[in-house]
């Protein structure tokens, strides 16, 4: 009940906000503000998702218990549910009467309608993508490779850093790009939990939506171009920094030991 009222209020707040009819230029407040908010949100959310997704993927690949499928289901739930439902769930969790909300309340903090909420929403939504891609990459690695490392004296930690992660890197990278893209475009859950508060929680996707709603197509288009630029630059930077060098020396991971390259030398 209380949540319902809070939600109605948030929607009301979300919608009633000043939308100037003045000319919007690239440098105007209505462009810059969502730009910075989105940038901050995406950077923080992707970083958190990167570590959480890898950790969850690594854990579940090593987990032998009966709850494996259940845990997997929980991890990918935010991907399967409509973003607004995820947002609702987060609202119920972090709202005044939710478990996390009450805990924070005791510390004098509240997450709803604040900037951290955009990060929470973006992280939750993009987590499944990072998790699934990383998990796939880890499972591709043959057990015998990690076993070989064990017989050579490497601790599980060293195996992860020196063998598993480097071998899974292309997949992990792809997952990061997916997570980043998804965080950048996050709308539904963010609107629910963080609301559309210009200067505080209004990310670019929300700014675009409300600009169109207010009839300001120019602003919407500029923002869309900004998003395109951020996305493109991020993807290229991640690929460049993390990708395999030219003339990949990774070779072909062979199965059954047969090298796929024809040898130019004596066997």
């Amino acid at each position: 009940m209380a949540t319902g009222a809070a939600f109605r209020d948030s929607l009301a707040t979300a919608r009633i906000k000043p939308r100037g009819r003045e000319e919007s230029t690239l440098m105007s407040e209505t462009i810059l503000s969502p730009f910075w908010i989105s940038l901050k949100t995406v950077l923080v959310a992707t970083t958190i998702t990167f570590f959480l997704g890898i950790a969850a993927a690594r854990w579940i690949v090593g987990y032998q218990g009966r709850l494996k499928n259940i845990m997997n289901g929980l991890f990918i739930l935010p991907l399967v549910l409509p973003p607004t439902v995820v947002g609702l769930g987060l609202l119920m969790l972090f709202g005044k009467h939710g478990p996390a909300g009450m805990l924070l309340g005791r510390l004098g903090a509240s997450v709803v309608f604040s900037w951290p909420a955009t990060v929470i929403a973006a992280t939750t939504i993009s987590f499944p993508l990072m998790y699934m891609t990383a998990r796939g990459a880890f499972e591709q690695i043959e057990t015998s490779i990690e076993n070989a490392a064990r017989t050579l004296g490497a601790s599980e930690w060293r195996i992860f850093w020196s063998v598993t992660l480097p071998l899974a890197w292309p997949g992990v990278l792809a997952g990061t790009i997916l997570a980043l893209a998804r965080s950048l475009g996050e709308f539904g859950a963010t609107l629910m939990l963080a609301g559309d508060i210009p200067g505080r929680t209004e990310t670019i996707p929300m700014a675009i939506y409300f600009a169109v709603e207010a009839g300001d197509m120019h602003e919407a288009l500029v923002l869309a171009l900004v998003v395109l630029a951020i996305a493109f630059v991020s993807i290229v930077v991640i690929s460049e920094v993390g990708g395999a060098p030219r003339g990949s020396r990774y070779g072909v991971r062979s199965s059954k030991g047969k090298a796929h390259r024809t040898p130019e030398v004596e066997p």
């Binding site: 043959e142 015998s144 490779i145 076993n147 070989a148 490392a149 064990r150 017989t151 050579l152 004296g153 490497a154 601790s155 020196s162 063998v163 480097p166 071998l167 020396r249 990774y250 070779g251 072909v252 991971r253 062979s254 199965s255 059954k256 030991g257 047969k258 090298a259 796929h260 390259r261 040898p263 030398v265 066997p267």
Partner: protein
């Protein structure tokens, strides 16, 4: 010295293996799924047996009675996997150095260079696995396993994925390893020739059990069971009954043979009259002769197969009407007489080459 006595049960399969070796090369031979790899993995600590103990040079690696099971990292066991399991993101040098990275730089360089030399991989240090041939990859895998100077070296079908030429070279190299590696070596194979060539001792596995364990000569010349005989490549197994014993030889009546077989008795074998036995002889041990005599029986050629090594004949023996007996011979090279189907001749079965199961 490696002592192994382990048991493990899985749905539909159970393994029970016990043996010990001391500075020798043990070949573990047997069909797929007979528990050979499980044994190796148990020794390495990659698999935990339900019960048993494993002792390496006096150190307990596993003792189920005490609940002790050391992790693979501390067992000082070298393992060469069937698919090599090289780290494809590291070059050959770094692969080999992986297990000794805690040593100082000079020591690492020294060991890796020495190993590269020993395995005929000079100048390959900078290459990545994807740039190496299968034979070279296998050598890197062996070098990598040897770098930390393990107390036992385990090889799981190390040459099964290689073509004949490369295989032969690597088999020779593995034999040569004995010059510088003084620990125990166990290797799993399903190739009898390879097992015989490299090992000094053989363990024959079937369905999770060791059927026979002994020196390679023992296993080949005196297989302990029909299964071992078959796995050892023996195709001549005859069912018979002991007629009597005289002068250290058993006379065995085999239905399908004209006269009783004289079999030399070994190692104080105890036989009773009228005891049913299986008598076997390797194909290579049968000689083709001109006339009848002791242990020489008449037969007719039923089939001839020529292969690279020589000619194999299958004979139908002329018997006493009580049954049929077929024997196969395998004669090397062009020295073998060429015979047509239906041709008659005599086969001589040397008493010392016959074995009783």
């Amino acid at each position: 010295m490696l002592e192994v006595n382990i048991q493990k049960s899985l749905p539909g399969f159970s393994l029970k293996a016990a043996f010990s070796i001391d500075r020798e090369i043990l070949a573990i031979l047997g069909p797929s799924g007979s528990g050979k790899t499980m044994t190796l993995q148990s020794i390495a600590g990659l698999l935990r047996p339900d019960e048993g103990y494993i002792r390496l040079n006096g150190r307990e690696l596993l003792d189920s009675a005490d609940g002790l099971c050391l992790p693979p990292q501390v067992r000082r066991v070298g393992f060469v996997f069937q698919n090599y399991a090289l780290f494809s993101h590291l070059n050959a040098y770094d692969n080999i150095a992986f297990g000794i990275h805690h040593l100082d730089r000079r020591e690492i360089d020294g060991r890796v260079d020495r190993l590269l030399h020993m395995m005929n991989l000079q100048d390959m240090g900078r290459r990545y696995p994807g740039q190496l041939s299968a034979g070279q990859q296998q050598r890197v895998a062996v070098a990598r396993a040897l770098a930390p100077e393990p107390e036992v070296l385990l090889l799981d079908e190390p040459f099964s994925a290689l073509d004949t030429l490369v295989k032969e070279r690597l088999e020779d190299e593995l034999l040569a390893i004995q010059q510088f590696y003084k620990g125990d070596v166990l290797f799993v194979t399903h190739d009898l020739d390879e097992a015989y060539k490299i090992s000094s001792k053989m363990a024959v596995y079937e369905a999770g059990r060791i059927l026979q364990l002994g020196s390679k000569q023992e296993v080949i010349e005196a297989p302990a069971s029909r299964m071992v005989a078959r796995l050892a490549g023996v195709r001549n197994l005859m069912e018979g009954v002991v007629d009597g014993i005289e002068d250290g030889q058993a006379l065995v009546r085999v239905p399908g043979l004209e006269a009783p077989l004289r079999v030399a008795l070994k190692n104080g074998a105890c036989l009773r009259r009228n005891q049913p036995v299986t008598v076997g002889i390797r194909q290579e041990c049968i000689a083709i002769v001109d006339c009848a005599g002791e242990n020489a029986f008449p037969g007719r050629v039923e089939r001839a197969v020529e292969d690279v090594a020589g000619i194999s004949y299958r004979f139908q023996m002329q018997g006493d009407g009580a049954g049929e007996c077929r024997l196969e011979t395998s004669l090397p090279g062009k020295a073998a007489p060429v015979m047509r189907s239906g041709q008659a001749c005599y086969l001589f079965l040397p008493p010392e080459r016959l074995f009783i199961i």
